[in-house]
Symmetry: C3
Subunit: 262 residues, 3 copies
């Protein structure tokens, strides 16, 4: 029994995800399939990378994480599998795996080239079905890394902005907006701990003032609040409502934390 | 093999549901996971309670039903597991389990307190992952109820309005609007049977007149119809269209049935 | 272990799909359930038939494909199971199975009539739960076709328009619009091969001109392109955007391919 997780921008309206699962179960009927999400905004490599990095480590060792957000499908971009000390990651080499793998110990990287482990004839438009699903299924059967293709020594990574800590506070940015409208920043609990007495989070572009609390319901319904999110990052929210909608916050917006009590 | 069902307001866009499944499968790789829905309107405890009450009894005995609609996450609200003669129910103690459990024979109630059966360090914002998922997984492994925490003798229940039956008819209300726009009332088949010759359902706020039929397609496409829904409640519908949209019906709206043939 | 796929218009917001899975697992706890989609537009038999025809053959032999898009539920329409050389198909007899079965060798057709293999009491509004789910589950247990009801010798089929190939080009139509806004036509790779040097696809109703390429990213982002879709049909697209939205294309719209280089 091996777990294969699926993260894509395929949506759930058409047959794309079901077809990939059919291909996987045809190769390995005992695989356990878990959807992370199929609602990554079309082609949004950065969102997919963040979703994967936020979830992969809650799965048992040996899990195979497959990500298909692949705007370059059919072009010259490589298709890869990365083995780390604990997991396997399968996807296009466009950076989508990089935020998760950054925290893991890499053991091997291979290019997915061997036609024997692909659906034939291979389409130029649906590598989720023809390339990535069979690779994940064969990994779940215990196929060796070297069977897939030549060894690679690097893979594409996404640039990330670290928050800037100054005497007067921290400046960071919004990394991800979830379906509740909670805005997850790149400011971690560790950086926050370096400030003395941070009492307010101030969004520079608006009037929102977000007291840092331990949980959403620590402020009255409808009131702004900042919490440490379940992934360890500072998160801007409104108790029971959408901070993104109320304050028009989007990914990339700057967030400033002022030090001291004001 | 044990089934765990999941009902949440987490949506399917982010990684929340996938992460809970990873935690469950890490504890019990043989659990069978079934999504009821993850699209409960955010924080809508009553909708979640109705969805659970409409579905739980179609699962085999021993199934573990986990519900995470939890606007008070991190606050003082209790987290509980209820064992009935046939099922287990896991969720926050905010009434979300109460409509389903009302029809079952309760055997034990426990508070989820034992840190040994929680993800550590436990977040204050994602108890679905850190508290409820591990509890469900350990139940699926056969862990005893008393391992989780102290025994409780009650749990929070939701108030419900019974329909009012008078000589001239029945007055009830809309309990739930489904994704087709069908409006499920709180008037049951039993109450309806007490009327002689009910021939029309009249919505007091509009002009809709809904003849009671055995199935949707018993009226022409686009025409109003009332049927006994698959859960045994009277349901207001339009054949092939949305009654909720056409007549602007929402949860809590009053529905009146007039007795006799007019 | 048997796979059961589910294709419905039930949406994922309510409890309908979860309930069907509960019924299936109660009868056959070892069934592997795979969702194709539950977001077929309500009552859209043709869309469901196309989705099934695009996905069923990627599942291993013996898979049971269950489709519940059933606007005539409760009326006189028959409920059927079709056994082909490789698969089983379960659904209402309204044409929804016909596009997939057209490519398969039929071995038997039976009417679902035996109350022993239905949820009792059977509702008139939810045959997915009461009729089709139990039939699929019992098939997965190996129940014989003849147990379900009398043999049938035909089933309802959907009409389809073949593309028209003339000396000056091909005229076809849009069969399906996917969630990316890609518009899949009824013009197959085979018909395209009969043209000499087709260099442009021209939509008769608009100004879109779509060069035929091997993959989406062969044109710059935001530019129109036509590719052979993963199912072998010509597909109208925009690299990284929605062709359906930009050119207001919908199912049934005519597509013309001009022969020769212009």
């Amino acid at each position: 029994m091996r777990i294969i997780t699926l993260t894509t921008d395929f949506g759930t309206r058409d047959w794309f995800v079901g077809t990939m699962k059919g291909v996987i179960l045809g190769i390995n009927p005992r695989a356990t399939l878990v959807d992370i999400t199929h609602e990554i905004p079309p082609g949004d490599i950065r969102a997919a990378a963040f979703v994967l990095a936020s979830s992969y480590q809650y799965f048992p060792e040996g899990t195979i994480h497959m990500v298909v957000v692949d705007p370059g499908v059919g072009s010259g971009r490589k298709a890869i599998v990365i083995q780390t000390a604990r997991y396997f990651f399968v996807g296009p080499d466009n950076g989508v795996l990089s935020l998760a793998v950054a925290a893991e110990k890499i053991k091997a990287i291979r290019s997915l080239e061997n036609p024997k482990y692909q659906v034939q004839p291979r389409s130029r438009t649906f590598h989720g079905r023809d390339l990535f699903a069979p690779a994940a299924a064969h990994l779940a059967c215990g196929l060796s890394m070297r069977s897939f293709g030549r060894a690679l020594h690097s893979f594409k990574t996404l640039s990330t902005n670290a928050p800037r800590v100054t005497p007067s506070g921290i400046q960071g940015e919004v990394q991800y907006v979830d379906c509740f409208g909670n805005c997850i920043t790149n400011i971690s609990q560790r950086e926050l701990a370096r400030l003395r007495g941070p009492s307010q989070v101030v969004i520079t572009k608006g009037q929102g003032r977000f007291p840092i609390k331990e949980f959403y319901d620590a402020v009255p319904a409808g009131k702004p609040v900042a919490v440490i999110s379940s992934m360890g990052f500072l998160e801007i929210a409104i108790n029971g409502d959408s901070a993104a909608a109320r304050f028009q916050i989007k990914v990339g917006d700057r967030i400033r934390i002022q030090s001291g009590n004001r």
